[in-house]
């Protein structure tokens, strides 16, 4: 579905993405892991059109989408969330969701003046949908709260909620789990699986929580220093020496002493 | 107090804005004439003249019109002003004409105002710039100047004057190497001087304001050693220029609207006694504007603009006894006695055609850091 071909992204002299090639299967939930600074977020940003690659190409369903602006990619069904939450701070949580669907007739000026009826109907439907998503995320009580004034984790939820407002084809999740309560994260995981199964979304998930990755993802891609280090099932990855050394580590050294 | 009635005159000048430093002496000039008249006790059986100031902003039409409306509301019998030609036109069209109010501007010199439809309500004690251009060209020619560079302040005054100088000077066979505008109140004039110097010329004529860009241009030109003599039209004649520039200015020359005889000297002395600078540009004209109002009222025996507007030309022009600054009381007495007066005033007032000054000019040369009058035209 997505094919990334020898992608490079340089910041000045620094090669954040350095020849990454990978492909994402339709209908999969692909995990993307790798040490801090491996270039995962940068790779996302390039695919999603926020950054222009230095070289290399990105294809979606065979079409070359390299450098296409994000809003066009959105309409092609490519959605993403942000590692650092990008809520619309002065809008209520519900509005944060309601603004997402594209092609709302109320978004053309002419209709806002002379097409009130149609807009009202659409808005009702949108509102119902938004409330449904909020409830799913267990933050329905925040519907009328300004999004700028909810907790860090709640912002993450909202971020995920936005992808649920439309029928996406592929969703890139950048560390939805960081800062989210584990119990809730499990619920999110269930939701992702359900979206994947029932609606056929394809997911690419960046996450540092191996349990979460393990529950959802197959296959898993591990990046390091801007390129793909290893690829396979989580079990294979976990057994990979290089991955252990660069990323997973071998657990706490001091654990024993403290407990005592 | 002992005055039978009160005559209110509006004084609408740009107390804030780009010519704020000129308007102090201008309004003082106008108020000097009012005071003189009040003190004489001769106007309309001892009327007291009071001035009401209002800000024109010089370049803010909206403000100027609002201020003028306020003056009307205060019940003025005439408006001295406005100062800059732009706002003058706005006030005239939008306030004076609709309300049938007379305006005498001491300083709006744009030729465009000459032909403006004014219902006989607009006068000015300064000549149109077209006239000064001719005079300056003659002076330059007499001095044997073959070529000039010309810079003007970028407003209707500067532009009109520059046009007039350029065409008149060319008509007498001179060469104008460059005509370039400068904006007032800018931080730096090296660019303008660079361009002017590159074009060259015997003399640099600066059609600007002495405490605005004009002075800046001269300073920059002197600093760069580009010229050491300058041609100075009326806007550049004033005490302040030699004072700020210093001895380097000696030898530069020019002209300003002004009368032969003792009008201006008397006025300057009177101003000094009052504590303001009578040589400041348009201060004499402002005095004259106020004087004209009051004499016309006396002549009409009424302070209603509709009555006295036709008298203004009468009192300003011959025949009659010549009236100079300080003589206002005498003049009012003469008028009351039914005699004719010919107001000369501080700026040699002679109103022609559409009610503007015909323009006599004083030739000035700067010697030892002073403006010396060296003749008349």
């Amino acid at each position: 579905m997505i094919v990334v071909d020898d992608l490079h992204k340089h910041f000045g002299g620094f090669h954040a993405v350095d020849g990454a090639s990978l492909s994402i299967e339709q209908g999969s939930i692909t995990g993307l892991i790798g040490p801090n600074g491996a270039g995962k977020t940068t790779l996302f940003n390039v695919i999603a059109g926020v950054l222009k690659p230095t070289s290399g190409r990105v294809y979606m369903d065979g079409e070359d989408i390299t450098g296409m602006p994000p809003h066009e990619l959105f309409h092609k069904g490519l959605l993403r969330t942000f590692q650092i939450a990008h809520e619309f701070a002065s809008m209520s949580c519900r509005e944060n969701l309601m603004m997402v669907p594209g092609g709302q007739s109320g978004e053309t000026l002419w209709n806002t003046w002379f097409g009130r009826k149609r807009i009202a109907d659409e808005e009702r439907a949108l509102k119902a949908k938004a409330d449904e998503v909020l409830e799913f995320l267990t933050i329905e009580h925040l519907a009328d709260h300004k999004a700028g004034q909810i907790s860090g984790g709640q912002k993450k939820l909202l971020e995920l909620g936005r992808t649920m407002m439309v029928d996406a084809k592929i969703v890139f999740l950048d560390e939805v789990g960081a800062g989210v309560n584990r119990t809730l994260l499990n619920t999110i995981g269930d939701a992702i699986i359900r979206l994947n199964k029932e609606r056929g979304y394809t997911f690419v998930v960046i996450e540092h929580d191996m349990d979460f990755i393990g529950r959802l993802c197959d296959p898993v891609i591990c990046m390091a220093e801007g390129h793909v280090l290893a690829e396979g099932t989580l079990a294979e990855i976990k057994a990979n020496e290089q991955v252990i050394e660069a990323y997973l580590g071998t657990g706490l050294k001091n654990k024993a002493q403290v407990g005592a | 107090d002992g005055h039978a009635k009160e005559v209110k005159l509006g004084v609408e000048f740009g107390f804030t804005g780009p010519i704020e430093s000129l308007t102090g002496p201008m309004s003082a000039g106008a108020e000097l004439a009012m005071k003189e008249v009040t003190d004489s006790g001769m106007l309309l059986d001892g009327a007291k003249v009071t001035s009401i100031r209002a800000d024109s902003g010089c370049i803010d039409n909206g403000l100027a019109v609002a201020s003028a409306e306020r003056l009307i509301a205060e019940g003025v019998s005439g408006i001295i002003g406005a100062d800059c030609s732009g706002v003058t036109g706005a006030v005239l069209q939008n306030v004076a004409i609709p309300n049938g109010m007379v305006m005498i501007s001491p300083s709006a010199t744009s030729p465009g105002l000459t032909t403006m439809e004014d219902n006989g309500l607009f006068f000015r004690t300064s000549p149109s710039d077209a006239r000064e251009g001719q005079v300056m060209a003659e002076i330059l020619q007499e001095r044997g100047v073959k070529s000039i560079a010309l810079t003007y302040t970028n407003n209707d005054y500067g532009k009109g004057l520059a046009d007039a100088i350029e065409s008149s000077f060319k008509a007498v066979g001179g060469e104008v190497t460059i005509v370039a505008a400068h904006e007032d109140g800018k931080a730096d004039y090296s660019a303008e001087v660079g361009a002017l110097a590159s074009a060259g010329g015997d003399l640099l004529v600066v059609a600007g304001y002495l405490d605005q860009g004009g002075a800046g241009i001269i300073k920059a030109a002197l600093d760069a050693g580009a010229w050491d003599q300058f041609g100075l039209p009326g806007g550049m004649i004033g005490e302040n220029l030699p004072k700020t520039i210093g001895p380097d200015l000696n030898g530069s020359y020019g002209q300003i609207a002004g009368s032969q005889g003792n009008g201006i000297e008397t006025f300057t002395k009177m101003a000094e006694a009052e504590g303001f600078d009578g040589t400041s540009p348009y201060a004499p004209e402002a005095y004259d504007a106020a004087a004209l109002f009051l004499m016309a009222m006396q002549a009409a025996g009424s302070m209603d603009p509709a009555d006295y507007k036709d008298k203004i030309l009468d009192v300003a022009n011959a025949p009659g006894e010549k009236i100079y600054p300080g003589d206002l009381g005498k003049a009012l007495e003469l008028i009351k006695a039914g005699k004719d007066v010919d107001y000369v005033g501080a700026s040699a007032v002679e109103l022609i055609g559409p009610g503007e000054s015909a323009g006599t000019y004083r030739m000035i040369e700067i010697k030892d850091g002073k403006n010396e009058t060296i003749g008349f035209k």
Partner: protein, 336 residues
Amino acid sequence: MDLLNAIVAFLNYVFVPGVAYGSQLALGALGVTLVYGILRFSNFAHGDTMALGAMATVLVTWLFQSWGLSLGPLPTALLALPFGIGFAILLLLFTDRTVYKFYREKKAKPVILVIVSLGITFIYNGVTRFIIGADDQNFFDGQRFIISAREFKKATGLSEGLSFKTTQGITIITAIIVVALLFWFLNRTRAGKSMRAYSDNEDLALLSGINPERVVMITWMIVATLATIAGVLYGLDKSFKPFTYFQLLLPIFAAAIVGGLGNPIGAIAGGFVIAFSEVTITYAWKKILVYLMPDSLEPSGLVQLMSTDYKFAVSFVILLIVLLIKPTGLFKGQST
């Protein structure tokens, strides 16, 4: 010989004025950029702060002159400068106490502070005119030229003169010293670093034990110093006139923006870009070309890219082009 004449003409009409004007703008832009960078708003009152600081200096200068104090060839105003600076510091601290502090504590939106500073501008404006009037004031004394055009011509025998004014010399030297000091202060001292930290992340600065009020105070003191120096130098070079300080604001802001608002190096570079673009684009190159070209090729016109009417407009176009080529501003500002 012709080549020398051409060089001298270039230096005299383009280079020296450009450098001097550029230094003046740079000093002004530094003040604007500091307030923007650390206190986070565009300070419209900067022009009038310059005017007030300069005004105080002028008054003290007159006092000194009446006492017969002088610095020989240098202007007496330099002696009075510290007093002007002191006055400006007091003024700004007072303004901060009575006005800005309130909004800062309330975490007001930056744009509110911008408009408030416009209010302050009006007030300063009135105060300056109230005290010293709206007219030109001359307070320069001492020797006017380091090299005057006439002497230069006599000494060298060239037909072009080169003049270099004392004030230009002082301006350039002061600008260099001030800028060097400022950089040393911001990048090397504890107080300077705490200012940068505060400007970056106020909350975190608090958590590092930085006292915000102290940072604000130091900032205003530096800004007052810069403003007074810039105002006095400008006044010495041209003349002191309240209205022009307000007019200076536009080129100063342009300089600060093109250099990258919030970045001190940018402010300096921006000042020179503005100054030189104003001077060079509208310069009539005829004079120089006449020297350089053989007679037969002598230009007939003025060889002026644009008439001086468009001087300011042109310098804005230059700015735009600079920004289009270098999207971060000449130096990366804070605003990215």
